[in-house]
Symmetry: D2
Subunit: 138 residues, 4 copies
């Protein structure tokens, strides 16, 4: 298992008339957190895409328990609890500035060969970076 925390400040443009960070922004917050989680173990999503491996989102589940407000610094904790196969499942916990759990999320991503647009097993360099966090792998 591997976890990584990313801090994101809520932009004015992201607020809505209730004064909350509108829930449509969470997909981007989570995506930013996921990218930084990868970067933290030496994987650049950009480079991976340039090498012809895409990782689109197949499923996204989000709960919105408490709101975040303008200028809040929220913390997105990305949790890798399953070793990736063709599908890469991640979960997330988002904490507001008072350290309260404000949102939980789950994503299922799929490794896709950008040339054939078909699902593929994760590239070796990707798995090697994750190996250290998983004793047993499939």
């Amino acid at each position: 298992m591997y976890t990584f925390e990313t801090k994101i400040r809520v932009r004015y443009a992201e607020t809505d008339k209730m004064g909350y960070a509108h829930h449509s922004n969470y997909a981007s917050y989570i995506e930013e957190a996921r990218t930084e989680m990868m970067r933290s173990i030496g994987i650049s999503y950009l480079e991976m895409e340039n090498k012809g491996v895409m990782l689109p989102v197949l499923e996204l589940q989000t709960t919105f328990l408490k709101p975040a407000f303008y200028d809040d610094v929220i913390t997105v904790k990305t949790i890798v609890s399953e070793y990736p196969s063709i599908r890469f499942k991640l979960s997330y916990e988002i904490y507001n500035q008072k350290k309260e759990l404000m949102s939980t999320a789950k994503t299922t991503l799929v490794f896709v060969n950008a040339e054939t647009m078909k699902p593929m097993r994760p590239p070796t360099f990707f798995l090697e970076k994750l190996d250290q966090f998983f004793e047993v792998k499939d």
Copy 2:
């Protein structure tokens, strides 16, 4: 049960470097469709909010089966299959321009009293508009 279809054209700003409507836009597409579904039976979400009844999103689940592209006119079908109580559950089917199912979604909304910020039962005018579509109600 009540269903309503809304057509939305994908904006350039909503595309991403894969050429797809980025998945972070789906929450807004679904919200627009939900608002139009309400309008179609005589409920203005704006007026309801002005009367002190809010309907924030508590849960959102989305699958992304096929992409939509720039300038595509997608169809969001909003499905009201459960009579609302404090929670209002809706599901959605999004079809691309070729009439293929490209995404499914579910939302759980909660009626909230804007003054007390506490959950509340749906207002009478809201239920009355839905009654015609449900034989048995709670």
Copy 3:
């Protein structure tokens, strides 16, 4: 000269904590209006891009005189007062639901060859569609 009006409904996600359509959305509103203006005279921006002609924005000027609110239907009037050369200059007037002028804008676009990424003269099919609105052309 040619003008075309496009109606756009302000989405909840586009509002900010002041209750206004946040000014960062105007670039998209204007882009949507520009695309519809072209469609109204038989030009698909999508097809043009597929043919290798891009039309990126080089300059954007916007004034924000009055706000728009959630669920408002705003009207964006796109004004083509100059025959296009390598640069294509457009202006815009945005009216709120009360028909008050709420914003003015100007854009300078540039025709770009997608292969060479160099500026180019407008394609013939583009000019032919516009000819009817201009007595004198360069």
Copy 4:
């Protein structure tokens, strides 16, 4: 005169089908940079708004000279060259990851009393923070 630099990483959701950070995001980038410029001299825009002073954007001019790409860290330089009166004029230079000037911008903001919604002179605490950077003030 006072200048402050803010670094912003381009999100995937902000890219478009050309692979560029879509120009509609620049208003948010600039707003984030402006907020951080204020924070750097001890002004919280959030607190100011809570005290009843708003600072909406009246005019925005932007040029888009070179694109930014996904995952690029861009630098937004906010330049305060004029002492604020009712209007607060700022200019901006945005540099891409190669330190090339990719965009210039200008904004005119207006101090507004949130209660009366009328323009007002800048609050004293605001001016006091800026005084150190201006020898002569009006």
